[in-house]
Symmetry: C2
DNA sequence: ATTTTCGAAATGTGATCACAAAAATGCTTA
DNA sequence: TAAGCATTTTTGTGATCACATTTCGAAAAT
């Protein structure tokens, strides 16, 4: 039904349609432009991106495996609704997972990569100071991703991305209803710990970054926010 | 191509073909009957289970999101090969993830469920004593799953299942080349800790269960095993 | 004997169609 | 006005087909 708010995305040559559909839907879910609870139709998406059901279905299956979508008993597909319990579960898992990812990255980190982290952090600070929440959020993700992908063996990253994707829609709602997002910056602390190759300190910085950042949402605040958004 | 070793699986009424294909392939990968490195073809699978490419493709996309399959640049699909590094990464992540899952389950555990855990553990002991490795492995999974699913909020379990799935093919190889699998039983310890609702003790039991169990594979042993299997 | 080349077969991909189930709509009835 | 019912539309699903790319195998050339 509703005309999806699917911003056209850059599509490199040779990218298959189902991969493109996956990327585009993923992006839309991540920034919260598909509202939780809203149900998606295969034909609707196919029409919106001028393709056909087959590749769209593949994209939807992948996204449901990634936790971004939920398949109901009626086979209807929707973005899962957030609850205070689910939020708490997601945040605590994110903390544990990312601390571990950070620890496993430390032995592989290079000075060059640490420099890149510093640059990303600087760009994020600038985005924050000009109140560009969306960009700041993206740069925050890039900071974390750049750290964890120092580890050449990538089994954790897809799981971290899955958590981000599941938290995304709620953050989208939060950004709509909260005047100014509160950004924490434990990144500098993490960078200093990385220079010393101090695993414990890096993990501690990541833990603080998450618990003081997204983990800072009080239970009552979450329920209030969801009520405001009509969820 | 190779005739897939796809054992027919029970198919409940109303189960869609793509879900059935997913289950069947998943099972085959989990027990290692599809060899790592062997490449799968969509048409081959479709023919083997007497269906058509469309639902098989959906199943394959899900499995690749779950880490069970890897899509190569040539778009060929295969079960990823194990390496000593990947194994270490998987096991350490499994430990962290399952300790956390166990902790989050404790507040929701009931005496009835603890009783069920005791029953599963007993059945596993029996399977071990009659050297039925395959059943023992399955019951071990069921023990862990029964514990973690006490938590009604299920965001961790799919990730744990993903880890198991990625470890599965290697365990299959191990079972072929090792005369007798060494099973640890820290389950009794976990059960006692659960009766006391002692989170730390439960987590410690799970950690020990994993590090002494699958984590007991020495690096050299893994490489040796892989060489034996022609990997 | 090894490498190269060229045609045939196999394969991934995406669009289309038919079918059955589910949802929506409009009408009738209490 | 509200509830029940039948019809129509929408939707998920799975099979089939056409097309482009890749892979494979045999023959030819070095």
């Amino acid at each position: 039904m509703g005309n999806l708010a699917l911003e056209p995305l850059d599509r490199p040559d040779g990218m298959t349609t189902h991969e493109y559909a996956h990327r585009r839907l993923r992006q839309a879910i991540m920034v919260g432009s598909i509202r939780p609870g809203e149900s998606l139709t295969i034909r609707g998406i196919a029409e919106a991106m001028e393709s056909s059901p087959t590749p769209v279905r593949e994209a939807l299956r992948r996204l449901s495996s990634e936790g971004a979508l939920r398949v109901l008993d009626n086979r209807r597909i929707m973005v899962p609704r957030m609850t205070a319990d689910r939020f708490s579960e997601l945040v605590s898992l994110r903390s544990v997972l990312e601390q571990h990812a950070a620890r496993r990255a430390v032995p592989h980190i290079t000075e060059r990569r640490i420099d890149r982290l510093a640059e990303i952090d600087k760009a994020q600070d600038e985005a924050i100071s000009r109140k560009d929440n969306a960009t700041a959020l993206l740069l925050n993700q890039e900071f974390h991703r750049t750290l964890y992908t120092a580890n050449p063996e990538q089994v954790i990253m897809p799981m971290v991305e899955s958590i981000w994707l599941q938290l995304g829609p709620f953050l989208g709602i939060a950004m709509e209803h909260v005047a100014q997002l509160y950004f924490v910056d434990r990144h500098q602390e993490a960078i200093e710990a990385l220079r010393k190759r101090d695993e414990d300190a890096v993990a501690a910085a990541i833990k603080a970054d998450i618990s003081e950042g997204i983990g800072g949402f009080e239970r009552a605040a979450i329920e209030n926010l969801l009520r405001l958004a009509g969820q």
